[in-house]
């Protein structure tokens, strides 16, 4: 292995305060989940009809300000995992801690309070209240908090402005297109200024062109605020476009949770390898993730660590140096890349 994993997520930033921590989280659906889980511990091969083991022993740490994309095939347990994090479903085993608080122990009022202050969620089929206007839908979480009409409408109008829906306040959800409905969903989830933002396949119900537009919109919003984001998708391109880290799930387990670069460069299992086989790695891999420590002095201008191999293709092909220096965001050289390694990624050989 040429390099070890890079701990920091955004190049150079090194905040490592864990907002969400999962330890051995399991979720079993069925008539008596706890019993079934205990039986499973005794006999892992057990399979009993009527039970679905949707999430299995997930360990996960999500850092503040990080965007974690959870992906996997249909039925792999993505939605269930996220619903465990927000306690929309009760966890069968393990613990989920949010900002140091074990959410399984929260009383109902405390849980409601947590959701009112800290969390927002966007749903695949929008989950809008059909008989409320757009404005009332966005103001709904504020109404639940008991805010008076004037303030909550003012805030809701701001949110609608933010997602580009001003002028549609009096419309009803069914009068809007899918993309517009999802904008309402996004505005609603942001109305309470949550620290943690869950998005469960927010764009899957949209057609490709609108999906692309919404992704751009999403990136714009994300850049404007500093939120911890858990984003579910089963579209790998979407994941690569958006993620700081990607968690790949299969049958309720997380197969690998890492930066996109590491996932395409060093898939942890065959499953992940197959998943990433079709990807043009040069578009994903940043030159920074190929960096090796300096062994000898290097010469010439360094390249920025956060450029992808594809972006640097021309230079890589024509550069005469065998070791190319790489600079971090502050301009200091952090190491060098073997030109051959980079070219291997570019040309798709090597693995």
């Amino acid at each position: 292995m040429p390099v070890g994993p890079i701990p920091c997520l955004k190049w150079g930033s090194s905040v490592t305060e864990s907002v969400i921590t999962c330890r051995n989280v399991s979720k079993v659906f069925g008539p008596n989940p706890a019993r079934h889980l205990a039986d499973l511990r005794a006999n892992p091969a057990l399979s009993q009809s009527g039970y679905v083991h949707a999430v299995r022993d997930v360990n996960l740490d999500v850092q503040r300000g990080e965007m974690l994309v959870v992906m996997g095939l249909s039925g792999s347990g993505k939605s269930t995992l996220v619903r465990c994090l927000s306690r929309l479903v009760e966890i069968t085993g393990g613990t989920v801690t949010i900002e140091g608080q074990d959410i399984a122990t929260l009383s109902e009022p405390a849980l409601i309070d947590l959701r009112r202050r800290k969390m927002g969620m966007v749903f695949q089929s929008f989950g809008l209240l059909p008989n409320r206007t757009v404005l009332d839908n966005v103001a709904f979480p504020l109404e639940m908090r008991g805010q008076d009409r004037a303030t909550r409408y003012a805030r809701a109008r701001d949110m609608l402005d933010l997602v580009g829906l001003s002028g549609r306040e009096t419309y009803f959800p069914r009068e809007l297109s899918g993309g517009q409905q999802q904008r309402v969903g996004i505005a609603r989830s942001l109305a309470v200024e949550p620290d943690i933002w869950f998005l469960d396949e927010p764009f899957s119900a949209l057609d490709p062109l609108i999906r692309r537009e919404m992704q751009d919109e999403f990136l714009r919003l994300k850049a404007m605020m500093n939120k911890t984001i858990i984003f579910i998708t089963h579209d790998f391109d979407e994941a690569l476009r958006l993620a700081d880290r990607i968690a790949i799930m299969k049958d309720g387990r997380i197969e690998q949770c890492d930066t996109p670069d590491q996932i395409v460069l060093h898939p942890a299992t065959d499953y992940v390898a197959k998943f990433t086989a079709e990807i043009d790695r040069a578009r994903v891999v940043h030159i920074g993730s190929l960096v090796q420590p300096l062994t000898a002095p290097v010469t010439g201008d360094p390249v920025a660590a956060n450029r992808t191999i594809r972006e640097l293709a021309r230079q890589l092909v024509s550069d005469p140096r065998s070791h190319i220096p790489v600079a971090g965001p502050d301009g200091r050289v952090i190491g060098a890349v073997l030109r051959q390694t980079a070219l291997d990624v570019l040309l798709g050989d090597g693995h």
Partner: protein, 643 residues
């Protein structure tokens, strides 16, 4: 498949037993022919005992009195407002113009000009025909009863949704309640409350609750999971979630429930004339008994118009999809309809103030079409009298009496075996046991002969209804516009209170069994036509195209593709048809039949709760058994067809 084959063999064996019992009837001991004395249980006495206990020892009487006092007070208020009964608040009567204008504007706001014309026109017709007082007597009960039922149904529906065990208890009760004939509800109410408008209102409330519970439960269960999750993530408490997310999202189903409550109320209010409820129903009953055809037709038209109006208005409300308004800075602009309504009301009040005929149209001034109708009907009847007389003679001597005698002649053990065979063929041991249990209980009730007469009336009516309804449905489904028109007619016909169907048949056949059968046939044919059309229309077009490509003729297409695919839907129609005819046979009893209905009328007039409930349950059991069999059958069909 193997199970089905085994069921068929067992069923055939039991059928052979039934046939055997019939063949050797003369050799059978009496105890196998009629239910023997020792088998008959004094169910009625037991029920009476329970009621006596509830009424006197448990002091339930005071509770019901208290409740009925509240209802009575409300009835007085509405009675004063609607037709000027001399009670607090002594404001009424509201001039008829105001009510007509209000109905007009409600129709316009909900659906547009056509509904406005219908609902406004209905009230104008009522006023001009001089039926205002009766119609308002009827309406005042609905105005009081419907909100009670809606609230009660909503609360019970929410409870059933919250607690699965409550739902499990409630479900069979609702099943029975929805198959009990109207009269079975009246008798206990008469015992507890007495007769009159108060009792009419209360029986109406009780009768119309079940559909509201059902629809509330259905609506709450259908709310998409994501809407709930969105509510939870918005930090809604349970109460907020229920009142601001679940119930509003289930709006359409709940309002359909309201629609059903209103229609049930109307049906019951009309029938409550049997327990002294004044209004349109009582008038109609009197006129029918006096054979005043023209006047009954007038009342009948009013009831039909009222039913259609109430149905359309409430359905329009239920099915209205929210639409964004154009926010306008002008108050007048935003509340245009409200302003117009107020102006029209003021106008109507003013007119009523200056011209008494706008306050109330006196009977003397009223229009009437009774005379011409009578004259016309005389002509028509004279013209078709030979036909109806022959039909009556033919049906009575060659169909009805032989059939009735045959049913009565059958040994009860043979009937039970036959039912067991049918049950076994359709659903195996369980269904056979259910059939035998239901009819066994009827045998044990001591009303076997009466029950068999009811069964005979229902079978002949449903058979005739199918004979008319199926071809009509198939014909209607041949093209879409025709199908839509026929469905509209059926829908409208289904909103009429059952009582209405008696007017034309009494006109044609007089008061006898044939009239009853005719009324039941018409009433029972409606669902058959309706579901046949729906079933045939909903056959997937790919299937029809595939059959066409294989060169099927139209006849082959109908018999081999469309009818088999439509069968499960058509069975729903058959089920409703049986239910409707059971109800109708019982209602028609006052024309003079010798079945359970007649006994129920007697129980009503002697306020014998035990007897009334036993008879009611006997009818309910027939309905529930048919329901079970048809449901199982259609499930089986659906499974084989893979729908």
């Amino acid at each position: 498949m193997a199970a089905t084959a085994r069921h068929a063999t067992t069923a055939r064996l039991i059928l052979a037993l039934a046939v055997g019992l019939v063949l050797v009837k003369s050799l059978l001991p009496a105890g196998l022919i009629r239910p023997p004395e020792w088998l008959v249980m004094p169910f009625a006495d037991w029920i009476n005992g329970v009621f006596y206990f509830l009424q006197n020892d448990l002091g339930l009487m005071t509770l019901t009195r208290a409740f009925s006092d509240v209802v009575e007070w409300l009835l007085d208020v509405t009675a004063n407002l609607l037709y000027g009964k001399n009670r607090w608040p002594n404001l009424g009567p509201i001039p008829w113009g105001v009510i007509a204008v209000t109905a007009f504007m409600a129709g316009y706001a909900l659906k547009g000009w056509r509904l406005a014309a219908l609902s406004g026109g209905t009230f104008v017709w009522i006023a001009l025909m001089g039926q205002w007082q009766w119609a308002m007597e009827t309406l005042s009960v609905i105005v009081v009863a419907a909100p009670f039922s809606v609230t009660l149904g909503l609360v019970l529906g929410v409870l059933a949704w919250r607690s699965a065990s409550f739902e499990r208890v409630l479900n069979p009760i609702l099943n029975i309640a929805q198959s009990l004939p109207h009269f079975a509800y009246m008798i206990p109410v008469v015992v507890f409350i007495g007769v009159g408008p108060k009792a009419g209102a209360i029986v109406t409330i009780i009768f119309s609750v079940p559909p509201m519970i059902r629809m509330t439960l259905l609506g709450l269960k259908k709310v998409p999971e994501e809407v709930i999750e969105a509510g939870k993530m918005s930090g809604a408490t349970r109460w907020q979630l229920l009142t601001r997310a679940r119930i509003p999202t289930a709006r359409a189903e709940i309002l359909i429930g309201v629609n059903q409550v209103i229609m049930q109320c109307l049906a019951m209010v009309v029938l409550a004339s049997f327990i002294g409820m004044p209004g349109l129903g009582q008038k109609l009953l009197q006129l029918l008994q006096a054979l005043k055809i023209g006047l009954s037709v007038e009342i009948g038209v009013t009831i039909v118009l009222l039913a259609v109006t109430l149905d359309r208005l409430s359905k329009a409300w239920a099915l209205r999809l929210p639409e964004h308004g154009h926010p306008s800075p002008l108050w007048l602009q935003r509340h245009r309809l409200l302003v117009i309504w107020l102006a029209l009301c003021a106008l109507a009040f003013a007119l009523a103030h200056f011209f008494p005929c706008f306050l109330e149209v006196e009977r003397k001034q009223a229009l009437s079409v009774a005379k011409p109708i009578d004259a016309l009907m005389d002509q028509v009847i004279r013209l078709i009298a030979p036909v109806t007389a022959w039909l009556r003679w033919f049906l009575i001597t060659w169909v009805l009496i032989p059939m009735r005698d045959a049913y009565l002649w059958l040994p009860f053990t043979a009937v039970l075996s036959l039912l067991a065979a049918i049950g076994w063929a359709i659903g195996g041991l369980r269904s056979a046991a259910i059939c035998v249990a239901y009819f066994g209980l009827i045998a044990m009730s001591g009303w076997w002969d009466r029950a068999m007469i009811t069964v005979y009336m229902v079978t002949i009516s449903v058979a005739l209804a199918a004979l008319i309804g199926l071809p009509l449905g198939i014909w209607a489904a041949r093209n879409t516009t025709r199908a839509a028109r026929v469905l509209l007619v059926c829908d409208t016909a289904q909103t009429f209170p059952s009582f209405i169907y008696l007017i034309p048949v009494i006109m044609l056949f007089g008061v006898n069994d044939v009239a009853v059968v005719a009324a039941v046939v018409v009433f029972a044919a409606v669902p058959i036509v309706r579901y046949t059309v729906e079933g045939l229309q909903n056959v997937p077009p790919e299937l029809i195209e595939a059959a066409n490509m294989s060169g099927a003729t139209r006849r082959q297409l109908l018999w081999h593709v469309r009818l088999p695919m439509a069968l499960p839907t058509m069975l729903v129609g058959a089920n409703q048809s049986v239910m409707f005819s059971l109800f109708m046979v019982i209602i028609a009893a006052f024309i003079g039949t010798q079945d359970l209905g007649q006994e129920m009328q007697r129980a009503l007039s002697s306020t014998d709760v035990g007897k009334g409930l036993v008879l009611g349950l006997a009818v309910a059991f027939m309905g529930l058994m048919t329901d079970h069999l048809i449901l199982r059958w259609s499930e089986g069909r659906k499974r084989t067809l893979g729908i």
